[in-house]
């Protein structure tokens, strides 16, 4: 449905996007996550045709945005991070204007507006001025506006920011419904938990690059195996440390009293082998457990890896010195 290939975009000396890649399957609900300044909005604006990349290619439904801009625009619905409303229009006039902007006029335009306003629960607010609506209602109106031409791909930049928990929940439900109705959705957010609950696919970006992307199930499985192992021993800290150091799966060790935190790369069998080595060496192991992981902790690891690695390596050095 959507392919971004080696997109580069610079603002002065800042690389907003630096070889950014994104691939979206039709019918997926893709969550684009990244810290502030990661380049999410730039990427979304390039997909929406509002920014021209310095290099690279954007293809939507197989068509290049460079050559088939008008056709591509028919396929996209865009909800920006700001509401983008006309405070001097009524709800109905607002919808009517955007319907006309897509060339949908007359009876079909009116029916389409009525259906969409009903879908987002604003059918009884037609004569209200847009600025008199609550933020949640304004956001729902923006969603109805973005759907006016029945796009295949809906791009939403931080759609739930600034909404209260109830409205956020309702809005997420609406996104789910759209996904169930066969729409492809690309949703950006820096609130990871809300994306992890509803997305089928996820992409984590930082510094203008996609660090990781794929199906949510695959990523969650990877998170499981990448979490640190916590080992607590009753005695024999020095011997335990020697065994761990010799194990090729152990990348870093952090020691706090009798508790070890291992950055361990390996399968379940490798974990079992390490535990067996410790027990064989008569080390009384009280606890041997993979830290429970979440998308948030994984996100922190891969977007803040440099800082974390330095801390781990320092811990490892101090533990070795103690030994």
């Amino acid at each position: 449905m959507l392919d971004l290939i080696d997109i580069k975009k610079t603002y002065g000396k800042t690389h907003a996007l630096n070889g950014f890649e994104l691939h979206l399957e039709e019918g997926s609900l893709f969550g684009l996550v990244g810290p502030n300044g990661a380049g999410k909005t730039t990427a979304i604006k390039i997909i929406a045709g509002l920014l021209v990349p310095d290099s690279g290619e954007v293809r939507i439904a197989g068509m290049s945005t460079r050559n088939s801009r008008e056709k591509v625009q028919e396929l996209i619905g865009y909800v920006p991070d700001s509401l983008g409303i006309y405070d001097n229009l009524t709800v109905w006039e607002y919808m009517e204007f955007f319907a006309a902007a897509y060339g949908i006029e007359g009876l079909s335009g009116r029916k389409r507006c009525e259906n969409l306003l009903g879908q987002v629960g604003l059918e009884d607010k037609l004569e209200y001025h847009v600025d008199s609506l609550s933020r949640g209602m304004q956001q729902r109106l923006c969603l109805a506006r973005a759907l006016i031409h029945d796009p295949q791909l809906l791009i939403m930049d931080e759609p739930t920011s600034g909404l209260d928990p109830r409205t956020r929940f309702e809005f997420k439900e609406m996104m789910r419904e759209l996904h169930d109705a066969g729409k492809t959705l690309l949703v950006s957010s820096h609130i990871l938990s809300e994306l992890s609950q509803m997305c089928t696919d996820i992409g984590i970006m930082e510094g203008g690059k996609m660090l990781l992307s794929g199906a949510m199930e695959d990523i969650m499985a990877r998170i499981e195996s990448s979490n640190p192992i916590r080992i607590t021993v009753m005695d024999g800290v020095r011997d335990a440390m020697m065994i761990m150091k010799r194990n090729p799966g152990v990348k870093t060790i952090s020691v706090s009293g009798r508790q070890f935190l291992l950055n361990f790369e390996g399968s379940r069998e490798d974990e079992a082998a390490l535990l067996e080595q410790l027990i064989s060496a008569d080390i009384p192991v009280r606890e041997f457990v993979r830290e429970p992981g979440s998308l948030e902790t994984y996100f922190m690891q891969i977007t803040d890896h440099t800082e974390e690695k330095i801390i781990m390596e320092e811990d490892f050095r101090s533990a070795r010195d103690d030994v």
């Binding site: 021209v52 865009y78 509401l83 006309y86 006039e93 955007f98």
Partner: protein, 279 residues
């Protein structure tokens, strides 16, 4: 009926706003106050002397036209300078650009709505301008040419407003730039012409710049209305220039030059509104 959603929406919004009736009321009040008080004074003098000086009525017509021209130069930037920057401030420009609306449609919609407002002002002021016909002295063709010069001035100043609005993020900044550009166009070209004459003894080719000045075409048509058929030639001789256009020719060429400048400004605006290479 113009099928441009931006134009339709702008007209809908401006018809609701207090701004349009307020501008109409102030504009016509100034014109009417000037015209009626002078006309009453002229009639009183005629009543006392039993003589009617018809040139007074042509004078009133000319002064009313000058006031109207100056007001157009003042009103147009205010009406158009916030047109596109306002969309940016509301963050609605990006949304419009993702629809079928092209930058050309957006810019022309904004320009036409600004011009429609001026057209309403011009039509509403016609009764005041037409007071002169009570006593005669001005032909319908002169009135028509004056209206053409008004519309040309409105088009070029509206284009300046939209152009400034197309690259400014803030409407206040766009308004300031629009007024500065209008001052340069009207006062700057005349000032440069005068300065060149003072320094070299001839305005030379800088006189050509005056063709872009809407005040010069207005002056050409007004002088023609007043019966000063050689006014433009005399002006050229005074500034020792090579241009020897008659008032009618100056009006025609000047109007064409100003419309071409307006088209260029609109094209620049379209370019500025389109998908950006910057943030």
């Amino acid at each position: 009926m113009i099928r441009n959603p931006v134009f339709t929406r702008e007209m809908k919004v401006s018809s609701r706003s207090i701004k349009t009736p307020l501008i109409l009321a102030v504009f016509n009040f100034i014109l009417a106050a000037f015209a009626l008080t002078n006309m009453a004074a002229a009639i009183n003098i005629a009543r006392d002397n039993a003589q009617m000086d018809y040139s007074v009525f042509i004078g009133i017509f000319i002064y009313v036209a000058i006031i109207e021209f100056v007001l157009i130069l003042f009103v147009m930037p205010a009406l158009t300078a916030g047109s596109i920057s306002g969309e940016r401030e509301r963050r609605t420009l990006d949304i419009m650009l993702t629809t079928r609306l092209t930058p050309v449609k957006i810019v022309t919609g904004k320009l036409l709505s600004g011009l429609s407002n001026v057209l309403i002002i011009l039509v509403s002021s016609l009764p005041i301008l037409s007071l002169v016909f009570v006593y005669g002295g001005v032909t319908l063709s002169s009135l028509a040419l004056i209206l053409v010069s008004f519309v040309t001035a409105a088009i070029i100043t509206a284009s300046i407003g939209v152009w400034a609005s197309s690259f400014c993020r803030r409407s206040s900044f766009a308004t300031a730039i629009s007024y500065a550009a209008v001052v340069i166009l009207v006062g700057g070209t005349a000032g440069l012409c005068h300065l060149t004459f003072n320094l070299t003894g001839s305005a030379g080719y800088t006189h050509y710049l005056m063709l872009a000045n809407p005040a010069s075409t207005f002056y050409a048509v007004i002088s023609d209305t007043m019966g000063e058929k050689n006014a433009m030639e005399q002006l050229a001789a005074r500034y020792n220039t090579v241009i020897t256009l008659s008032a009618q020719a100056w009006f025609a060429v000047g109007t064409a030059v100003q419309l071409i400048i307006s088209i260029i400004l609109v094209l620049f605006s379209v370019r500025n509104v389109g998908p950006s290479r910057k943030v």
